[in-house]
């Protein structure tokens, strides 16, 4: 029983963390076309923000709920800074944003190594996350449940934001044709900044979740970036529901692979799975058809 149910539950939690990491990318990459390789470092910034909040509010029962919005804002502000200083000059060269942000990511990692203890810092989990939930005889860690709930809340908030506010339309319009959006009266600068803020902020929230699961150190962001991009790509760029499904699928697949093979091989197999999938459906799970030349 455990062999079937445990990977499913663990994998769902892994998928949820991946989703949190990918959610911001689905905005900045999926909607804006910016390939932000420093997204992982924004996640790291969120985790360090959680640590700093705990330095102020010692009781972790309280500090983590406080850390979530704080991490959102702090990481969001870093994103905003990146947008204003660099990205805003590059909207017409999406592939080049990839290279520029690789540079940003290097700098942020090294800065974190300088500023914080090199071994990393502890982020204490709140007491109310101690314990397990018994599901079909399997003791499922509460912390995993929390990751899933957090992801669900973020997805719902983001979806509502995109769907029920005019903002979603403006983002999509700006992505599609910047000049046309601008001459239609949309302040593309505002759209860009807000989108980037929100996307980076989501990375910060993911960072808090990650800080409860692994180490909080200068290297932590690096392990999320490529899986997160794969998830966004596999889901279909700009497709929220695709991203959700892909994250979950990758998480569960990783978990089953890890259960059947080894941790290292699971990583390889999951990557190959996504790569093969993208061969079959090069535009991801969900696609938008347009009447392009293609």
């Amino acid at each position: 029983m455990d062999a079937l149910i445990a990977p499913l539950l663990n994998g769902s939690a892994q998928g949820a963390l991946l989703l949190l990491a990918a959610l911001g990318l689905s905005l900045t990459f999926g909607q804006m076309g910016v390939i932000n390789m420093a997204h992982g470092e924004f996640l790291m910034i969120g985790a360090f923000a959680a640590y700093l909040v705990q330095q102020v509010i010692a009781a972790s029962n309280l500090s983590i709920p406080v850390a979530l919005p704080v991490a959102f804002v702090v990481a969001g502000l870093f994103g905003l800074l990146l947008e204003v200083t660099i990205i805003q000059w590059m909207y017409r060269r999406p592939l080049d944003t990839l290279l520029v942000t690789v540079g940003v990511s290097l700098i942020l990692q090294q800065a974190a190594l300088h500023i914080f203890p090199s071994q990393g810092v502890p982020v204490e989990k709140p007491g109310w996350l101690d314990g397990q939930l018994n599901i079909l005889g399997y003791e499922w860690p509460l912390r995993q449940l929390f990751t899933i709930l957090l992801a669900a809340v973020c997805v719902a908030a983001l979806a509502a934001w995109l769907k029920y506010t005019s903002f979603g339309r403006r983002i999509r319009a700006t992505v599609h044709n910047r000049d046309l959006a601008e001459t239609s009266g949309i302040s593309t600068r505002t759209v860009d900044r807000l989108t980037f803020f929100a996307g980076s902020g989501l990375a910060g929230v993911a960072g808090v979740a990650a800080s409860l699961i692994g180490g909080t150190n200068s290297q932590m962001g690096a392990q999320y970036i490529i899986p997160a991009f794969l998830v966004v790509a596999a889901g279909g760029i700009g497709q929220l529901k695709g991203t959700i499904l892909a994250a979950w699928a990758v998480g569960v697949a990783l978990s089953y692979f890890a259960y059947w093979t080894t941790g290292s091989l699971a990583q390889v197999l999951a990557f190959i799975l996504v790569i093969v999938f993208l061969q079959i459906r090069p535009q991801g799970l969900f696609t938008v058809r347009t009447r392009s030349l293609a």
Binding site: R169, R172, A173, E182, T183, S187, S292
Partner: protein
């Protein structure tokens, strides 16, 4: 309403416009051969490119350094050349985009849908899937929803079926009558001259001729274009 004075502009190191001045007027037509710089001039008027010399005045205000969206907020609207629409958004979303935040947004949309029935029919279709002419209608509707003081039109009838061309031409005439100013680029000199109270002929980025609308003989303009 809109005055462009001694404009010099271009792309990168290539200069396209050389000291172009466009006077204010109700309906101003800009005429010229392909590549004369008409589109460049309109892009400059709406703020998509910045002049290296010269000034742009709107309603007496110097807007030379304003971004396009700020100009739109001040009452300018722009229909670019080439049937442009937000392909990933539905027809309706294309219109909502500009109607958002305006009073009576829905009514404004309905009015335009009534004007262009194809838009009503394909309201939920992605604009990228519309035919060229349908997209052009959408572009004009999008501009009109903002209830502009000045409408900038770059070859608005290009690729439009004759019945609708007629309608668009009527619309332009009517807008002028409704106290909306128009800056128009048209290849159909006859119509342009009839609609315009002033016109400017561009040739290789220079103003080769200007005049009062209506009166000018088509042949004079043709001659000026060829310079």
């Amino acid at each position: 309403m809109l005055e462009l004075t001694d404009i010099e502009a271009g792309y990168g190191r290539t200069r396209v416009l050389h000291g172009v001045t466009v006077p204010s007027g109700k309906v101003v037509a800009v005429l010229g051969h392909n590549g004369a710089g008409k589109t460049t001039l309109l892009r400059l008027a709406i703020g998509l490119i910045k002049p290296s010399r010269g000034r742009v005045l709107f309603d007496g205000e110097d807007i030379t350094s304003l971004a396009p969206n700020q100009r739109v907020a001040r009452g300018m609207a722009y229909v670019p050349q080439g049937q442009q629409a937000f392909g990933q958004l539905t027809t309706l979303e294309n219109l909502q985009l500009v109607a958002d935040g305006r009073r009576g947004g829905r009514a404004l949309i309905d009015a335009q849908m009534a004007r262009f029935p194809a838009l009503e029919q394909f309201a939920t279709r992605k604009a990228g899937l519309l035919s060229g002419g349908q997209r052009q209608q959408l572009a004009i509707a999008r501009a009109l929803i903002t209830e502009p003081k000045l409408l900038i039109l770059d070859e608005p009838t290009e690729g439009i079926q004759p019945t609708i061309v007629a309608e668009i031409e009527q619309t332009i005439m009517q807008l002028a009558a409704e106290d909306i100013n128009v800056l128009l680029v048209e290849q159909h000199i006859g119509f342009a001259l009839e609609a315009a109270d002033r016109y400017v002929v561009l040739a290789s980025g220079h103003v080769s001729h200007t005049g009062e609308g209506g009166k000018a003989a088509t042949s004079t303009v043709r001659a000026a274009m060829a310079i």
